[in-house]
Structure formats: C-alpha cells, structure tokens
C-alpha cells in the first residue's frame, strides 16, 4: 500500500558538493522494506522525482540525492520547515528473508543510500554484512564513516585510486578477498552488469529507469525479465539475479 501525504523537511544538508541528505518528517507506515523509494512533487515540475529511501524510522524518512538536473537543483535549495507532497511506500525493496548469513552490500555512487537501511536491518537480524562502496574519486565519497559506525567491514573503490582500491567495486571484492553468501547491490547499470558477470553468488540488484508515475500505472519503466515484463517502479526496482535479462 502507499501513502500520499505532506511531509515536512527537518534538514537538508550537503554530504559532498553535489550530494545532499534530506530528512523528512511524516507518516512512514507504508515504508516497509529497505530499497523502496518515494516520489516527490516539486513546484513547476509535471512529474514527481523518485528518490530511494536511505533510512527511515517511525517518524522520519531520510533520502540522499545527487543534484543532476532542474528538479534536484530545486530540492538543493530547500530548507527545514518546508513542506512537500510525497508518495511513499513505492517499489518492492530488498528481501532479507533468506538463509544468507554473510551478505555483501555493494553500492556505486548514488546507489549507496538504500544500502544503509538495508545494512542496519541485516545487522538487526543477526547477520554479518560486508559493505563495498564505489566512487570515481575521493571527493565524491559519502557515508563511508556512517557505514563504519554501524560496526561492519567497509571497503571503498575509487576509479582514480585516490581512496581505497584503485578501480571498480569488482576489484575491491577481489583485492580484499571478501567471502560472502549473498549479494545486494544498487548503482549504475555498468556496475550491476560487471557484478553479475564477475560473481556467481545469488543476490538482488536494484535498477533505475526513467519513470512516469512511480506506482505501476503508466508502463513507462517496463523491463524484460526471464519471467516476463516487469515495471521497475512497481515490480522492482529490485530484481533477483536469476530473473535479470541484460
């Protein structure tokens, strides 16, 4: 189920020059899984802006977004106290109901945020997650310390080698000799594909696509899977490894 409601901005602060964290206060009862997203109405914009939920509790939803266009530029300028019309509880999210005890979480760029709540959830279920964060440069890194503060092993890769393993997340997995029994990942398509090709472990991959409505009505974001057509917004954004068609 979903909720369309008015949410109040509690804070909106930069994590890097182009990545912001916004905390929203309001009804969070329909956010039920890590990896779901919300869809934000912005003044003067016809379509809402879908942003993944990074964390949530009984009263707040935290999102982390990158300023990439007019809509997110508008969000960047928002201040505490402002109100937003938002649809919450969208998307399937990650499923943690499995036997895996040592899951690996791999995030790339703005694919990192939804893994934060997932990591907390896995820890609360008594599992031992390892986290790998991939960025282009040291300056782009965010949430490295926040993940560390959860008490999990965190590794970084940067494309230019300015921090952690030089190269991609797949290099970081290899160089650190990480052992794991399940994979949760979110990030740019080439990263997801590289993980799929370079690992054999079962897992869940969170995808991105240009959306119209965000709740399954317009069929704008449909993708093909081994088990038929799926809407990224409604049947996804998380797909199981065995159903992915590249």
């Amino acid at each position: 189920m979903y909720k369309k409601d008015i949410y109040t901005i509690l804070s909106n602060e930069p994590l890097t020059p182009v990545v912001y964290r916004m905390v929203l206060e309001g009804d969070t009862q329909y956010v039920t899984r890590s990896g779901q997203f919300i869809n934000i109405e912005l003044e003067g914009k016809y379509l809402r802006r879908p942003i993944s939920v990074s964390d949530y509790d009984a009263k707040t939803i935290t999102i982390i977004y990158k300023v990439v266009g007019r809509g997110t530029e508008q969000m960047q300028g928002m201040v505490a106290g402002q109100k937003l019309d938002i649809l919450t509880g969208l998307g399937n999210g990650f499923n943690t109901e499995n036997e895996a005890q040592r899951p690996l979480l791999v995030g790339g760029g703005v694919g990192v945020p939804p893994l934060y709540n997932l990591c907390k959830r896995l820890l609360s279920e008594g599992k031992r997650p390892t986290v790998i964060l991939g960025f282009n440069t040291r300056e782009e890194i965010f949430y490295y310390e926040e993940f560390k503060a959860l008490g999990v092993d965190v590794h970084c890769s940067t494309a230019d080698g300015s921090f952690g393993t030089r190269g991609f997340v797949t290099d970081a997995i290899r160089d650190n000799g990480i052992e794991y029994d399940y994979l949760y990942t979110c990030g740019p398509l080439p990263m997801l594909k590289a993980l799929y090709d370079n690992t054999s472990c079962d897992g869940e991959y969170s995808f991105e696509e240009r959306m119209g409505c965000g709740f399954g009505a317009c069929m704008g974001c449909t993708c093909k899977t081994k088990y038929g057509n799926k809407r990224i917004c409604k049947d996804g954004p998380v797909l199981k490894r065995d159903e992915i068609v590249w």
Binding site: L47, R210, F215, G216, C218, C221, K234
Partner: protein
C-alpha cells in the same frame, strides 16, 4: 441547506453517475489505483489499449518530462486480448462496478475486427473505444486515424462485428479533425473520443540525443488542454453523435469547460500519473464548481457554447 447537484450523463444509452473517466493508458486495468481509493466514484473506466497479441512496447527510456506535461512512447504494452478477457476484465469487475470502456487498438483491419468482436461478447464491457490514434506504433494505431477513408473503414469493419456502442478515439495529429470525425460518423460510429496525444520530441542537450529511445512520442498533460477543447468544440459542432473529451484535463473547471465545448463525458489522463487521486478529487470538487457557476445539472451545459 444541502443543495442537490446532478452530475449524471448518458453516453449512447449508458448511464454514468458522473462524466469523469480515467483515460486509457493512464489507469492500467484499475489495479494500481484501487490501492489508493475506491474506484466506484468514477463515472466509467477506459482500460489500457489492448491488441490481439501481448506487447512489450517500445524500448526504454520511453518517458520524457515537459513543461506542463510529459511525452510517452510506451507503445501499447498490454497482455493481449485473450489475457485481458480471462484475467484483467474479471478482476476489474471485482474492484469496479460502473461501466467499463474497452480500448482496442490494432495493426490491421483484421486485428481491429477480431479484437472488437471478442470484446463485444463480454457482458462486463459497456462501450468499445477504438484507438486509431496511437502515435507510438508503426503500421498501425495512428496511421488509421489520420485519413478520413481509413478511419471510416476501421469504423465500418468494427461496427459490422459488434453490438455495443463504438467510440472512435481520434488523433490530433491531423490537418482536418472534422473531416475525420464526420467520416467515422457516416461509417456508423456511435461516438467520438478525442484527443489522443500530440506527437512530440525532447532532446537531451548534454548527450545530444533524443530523451526517448524511440525519438518521438505522444505529448499529454495540462499543456494540451486548449488543443483538446478546440477539437472537441469543432467535432461536437460538426457531428450528431456524442463526444468524449480528453486531453490535459486536471480540474473540475476543466471538466466543465470541456463539456461546454461539447463533450458529454470527459476523460482524465496524464493527471492520474502525477496525482493518483486526480480523478477522484476532480469528481469531489465538481459540485463546488457547479455551485460557483450556477449549474444544477451537468448535462445542461453540454455544448452550450456555440
């Protein structure tokens, strides 16, 4: 004092409690919206454009935002007529108890004939809406709706195999909408629905490529409302069959304006995608708008503007 406002209208003998109908392609088969509200407040529902075979549609990305609207190039993704009849229609009937409008599209005269004949046998369907105006498919859809002769031919063939009221859904991407509407009327159409989306395009200036994989798509949303009102007005004044107005409707005021232009019923499309409660909220605010404008019975204002 509680005033009574009569919102009911009648389309070819089909009684609607109010004139507001979610437009085909923006409402699926109702499932997603039933998670938001009780669908029975809607006058009718026009379900997702259905073809003979299941279709994936066009490659993604197939959505592009615009000022006051969006472009889509979904390309008639649907499960195919047989699955619509066996799965979607029975489910829609469970969650919705007012008239169902079946939107049928095709790539050949035979396909229109076959699908319309099949859906005509379904008692849950009250009206057949024949889509000859989808801009997102090649060798079908819109190509039938841009010439009076071909639009009339589809109409004749469908009318020959059906018993329910047949509305032809027309494209605005034509030079003379009246000639096409008249040709459909003469070929036996029971009503006209217009407008479908306007052919549009956006370019990503950073990538120097079209935003949409298929390059072009159908433009809808608030921005096209004046075009829709104009075409509804022209067609309603030139034809003697009822018109369902569609295009950029997003408020009760828009519904009334469209009806004054000549629409008997009004479809709400893209607004549903922006606000899932759009159709419901429009219906709820109709009485207030009627009071403001001194309207007691909505049906009184159909085509009142000459």
């Amino acid at each position: 004092m509680v005033k009574h406002y009569d919102l009911s209208v009648e389309l070819c003998g089909v009684k609607l409690t109010n004139p507001v109908i979610p437009a085909s392609g923006t409402f699926g088969f109702g499932r997603e919206f039933a998670d938001f509200y009780d669908l029975d407040c809607l006058g009718a529902i026009s379900f997702k454009g259905t073809t003979r075979d299941a279709r994936f549609g066009n490659p993604t990305p197939r959505i592009a935002e615009c000022t006051s609207g969006l472009i889509n190039s979904v390309g008639l993704q649907n499960p195919g007529i047989d699955k619509v009849i066996s799965e979607e229609l029975p489910h829609l009937r469970q969650i919705f108890h007012n008239p169902i409008i079946a939107n049928i599209s095709g790539f050949s005269l035979e396909e229109y004939e076959e699908c319309c004949a099949k859906i005509d046998k379904e008692e849950q369907v009250e009206i057949i809406e024949v889509n000859v105006s989808c801009p997102n498919v090649h060798n079908g859809g819109m190509s039938f709706g841009t010439q009076p002769e071909s639009a009339a031919e589809v109409t004749r063939r469908v009318k020959a195999v059906t018993t329910k009221p047949v509305f032809i859904k027309l494209s605005p991407n034509v030079t003379d909408i009246v000639a096409i509407a008249r040709a459909c009327e003469e070929a036996g159409a029971d009503g006209i629905c217009l407008i479908n989306t306007l052919l549009g395009m956006r370019i990503d200036t950073v990538r120097r490529k079209p935003v949409i994989a298929n390059k072009m798509g159908g433009f809808s949303g608030d921005a096209i409302f004046p075009v829709a009102v104009r075409m509804v007005y022209q067609v309603a004044n030139a034809c003697n069959i009822p018109v369902m107005g569609c295009g950029g409707v997003s408020s009760a005021s828009d519904v009334i304006e469209m009806m004054m232009a000549g629409a008997t019923a009004v479809q709400v499309g893209a607004a549903n995608l922006k606000n899932p409660y759009a159709a419901k909220e429009i219906i709820e605010s109709l009485p207030e708008e009627m009071e403001r404008l001194g309207i007691k019975r909505l049906s009184d204002i159909i085509g009142i503007v000459k």
